[in-house]
Amino acid sequence: MRRKNTKFMFLLAMIVAVSAFLSACGGNGGSTNAQTNKPAESDSGTAANTVKEENTGPDLSEEVKLKMLLVGGKPADYDEVFGELNKLLKEKINATVEAEFLDWSDWTQKYPLKFAANEDFDIAYTANWAFYNDQARKGGFLELNEDLLSTYMPQTWAAMPAVSWEQAKVDGKLYMVPNNNTEVTDKVVLIREDLRKKYNLDPVNSPETYANYVKTIAANESGFNAFGAKPADGWKWHELDQILLEQQNEWNLVDYSMPLAYKLEDASSKVFNVYDTPEFRQLLDYYKDLADNKGWSKNIVNNKNDVWQDIKAGKTGSYAQNLGTVAFNLAEMRRDKPEYEAAIVDLTPDKKKIGAISTQNGMAIHVTSKHVERSLMLIDLLQNDKEIHDLTMYGIAGKHYEPVGDDKYNAGPSAANYTGFSNWGWNSQLNRSDASYPVEADEILAGWQEKVYHFPLETFVFDDSKVKNEVANVGNVMLRYAIPLEYGLIADLDKGQEELNKQLKSAGIDKIQTELQTQIDAFLAALQ
């Protein structure tokens, strides 16, 4: 009896141990990938050689297969469009390309892993919001020089303004072929214009009129959220902060992972903690008023829904986003849900606007790529070859889009099957604009262009390597104390703000502030 049981138990123990181990494996597997680091020196070597061969151009005799890393969901008609692309590429540069897509749901986790595991790919989408500085500093990207650029991407080299290259440099070195497109980063709000009219409200064009809109809608429409946000993904700010805190006060936050900003007009760029300002305190009153009037769901911090889908479904009445995204939403609403009338509103129309720097989107070469020349040539074509640019940006003519003249297009019957991923990496002057693009969005943008404010710190990027621990802890404090405070979930605002700042202090905000100021001062000194 005893014996029988021991055997059984041994077996049981094995099973449990193995299954426990297997489940643990999922989490820890990443660290076991051995590194195979093959330096890219052979590439630059051959590159230099081919340059010397003079006019014969690069050696294209060997067919190569390039791999490209993009973020976003894989479009349904990927095979068709990229099949077409590969025919063109085969002809022009004797290469084919295969793209790998990192889905929006978890790209932030997968993207750095692709580099850490040193997977085999040649080109990667990158941006100032998509690990550009981080990976550049960690050595994930190949450094690009004038030689490489002018030799292998002549069209881009000719078309790109010099300032765009300058803006893309990290610590004085270039790692990215930035997109060539002007954008403004200011945020706007999408509202339900039909509801505004229904309740006879003033046009929304300021924080006050917007508050009025939110409160009226919340009071009268049941089962409806007047404002929607998606803070559940770890975003550390109220989604209206960029408008109501930054744009309204003409501040610029250095990095969205810490609450430090400077005033746009302050020539010495003194950095301060935004949570410790009277402006923030006033904004808390504003938010609390909206929250108490049921302007948003009490459980907004646990909401994981896609806010735009909620708006489209008629469940949410407004949200804040980039002008481009909101304009696209508006066009979609007009097409799919004509019964709802939406409108784009700018809550800070008279304030200074900030232009996007070139690193808003771009493409970089993986440091271990074996096909540097061909990769650069591919990016050149993507960005500046009309035929290839049209194909990769809009899909197949007649199916995914209908060209209108040279610079406009209409959505084609299967437009939805080729969209939603980061082909913005090769945005350029060849971009077509959507013929159904809302006129009001164009007007807003035109109005903004003249208010775009250029300031010395535009291209400044904070290097947090000396204060990593503090940045990590400050981010945690923001999530834990600032978010609930801003969404009106804490009854006593004064006490909440005090607690928030106390926690920030112990998380080391002062150390970050000193380090940041030192770097800014050095940056400004270098400009003079």
Partner: protein, 306 residues
């Protein structure tokens, strides 16, 4: 003399040893060899250096964790939650297994088993979504029901005090089927002659459970608990993250080491710092399992793991 004994044993148990080989290889390959990666916890990782070539930086990688001032709180939360899970889950599983064993109807037993097992296969992401629809303030099922019977809504997502109870219940619900089957298998392997003898001696069903089933289950229970104790400092990330998400109001009572570290490092991608956190958990886990095993040995040598 001794070595002859050893080779004799090898020969005698060759079939059993052969069966052991895959397991040993598995752990060697996936648990022992990767252990070298621990060095990352003490290195400033960069791509050009890789795991072994990156420069050392001492205990710098551990600083973010202990500087936060939250290290003690999250460590305590992790251990307390896991202890609660172990006690509640095993208790319920044993209870359910004994009930199922004593129920005669074969069909009833099979169906119940299947129904209990189902939650085990539901992903935490889905469980999180179900929970949101149950608990949310505006349109959640629970609050709707409270309204119907004329009571005030309760704001579950903004009240930290509810969460320890909710999490323990959800964990029990999800793990019940799996554990029950394991215990049921153990009960089935108990010699039926003992029950027959007990019955002849006039023991009623409760006496049989208390005097035969439970004592015979104890070795299994102890092994399972000992194995669980080794992981007492590892929070179930999938569960905590999907149930609580980034809701700062709940962190005080729901933050475990894993979610805390995830939140701090998700934007910085410092492999060394994550490795440091993992190393810290492993060390604590190792210490606990050694202590627990020592305690069990003291009490009864046969029941200890090693």
């Amino acid at each position: 003399m001794r070595s002859r004994g050893f080779w004799n044993d090898v020969k005698k148990y060759r079939t059993l040893l052969l069966m052991l080989v895959p397991g040993v290889l598995f752990f060697l390959l996936f648990a022992y060899i990767p252990m070298a990666g621990i060095v990352l916890a003490f290195k400033q990782f960069n791509y050009s250096g890789g795991i072994f070539g990156s420069p050392w930086n001492g205990f710098d990688n551990f600083r973010f964790f202990f500087d936060s001032g939250d290290a003690w709180r999250v460590t305590r939360n992790t251990a307390l939650y896991n202890i609660a899970f172990i006690v509640v889950n095993n208790g319920l599983q044993i209870f359910a297994a004994i009930l199922l064993f004593e129920v005669a109807g074969k069909w009833f037993r099979k169906i119940t088993q299947t129904v209990m097992f189902l939650p085990y296969f539901i992903s935490w992401v889905v469980v999180g979504a179900i929970a949101y629809n149950l608990f949310n303030y505006d349109v959640g099922t629970i609050n709707m029901l409270l309204h119907k019977i004329g009571m005030e809504s309760i704001d579950i997502y903004n009240t930290a005090a509810y969460w320890p109870v909710i999490l323990v219940l959800v964990s029990a619900w999800k793990a019940l089927g799996y554990g029950t089957i394991m215990y049921l298998a153990a009960i089935t392997s108990i010699d039926t002659e003992m029950y027959e003898a007990a019955e002849i001696d006039g023991a009623n069903i409760f006496q049989r459970i208390r005097k035969i089933t439970i004592p015979n289950l104890m070795p299994t229970v102890i092994i399972l608990i000992l194995l669980a104790i080794g992981n007492i400092f590892r929070g179930d990330f999938g569960m905590f993250y999907n149930m609580v998400g980034n809701n700062g109001l709940l962190f005080s009572s729901t933050d475990v080491i894993d979610t805390f570290v995830f939140r701090l490092l998700i934007t910085s991608n410092e492999i060394g710092m994550s490795a440091a956190a993992g190393f810290y958990q492993s060390l604590l886990g190792f210490a606990t399992i050694m202590l627990a095993n020592y305690a069990v040995r003291k009490y009864d040598k046969d029941h200890a793991l090693f």
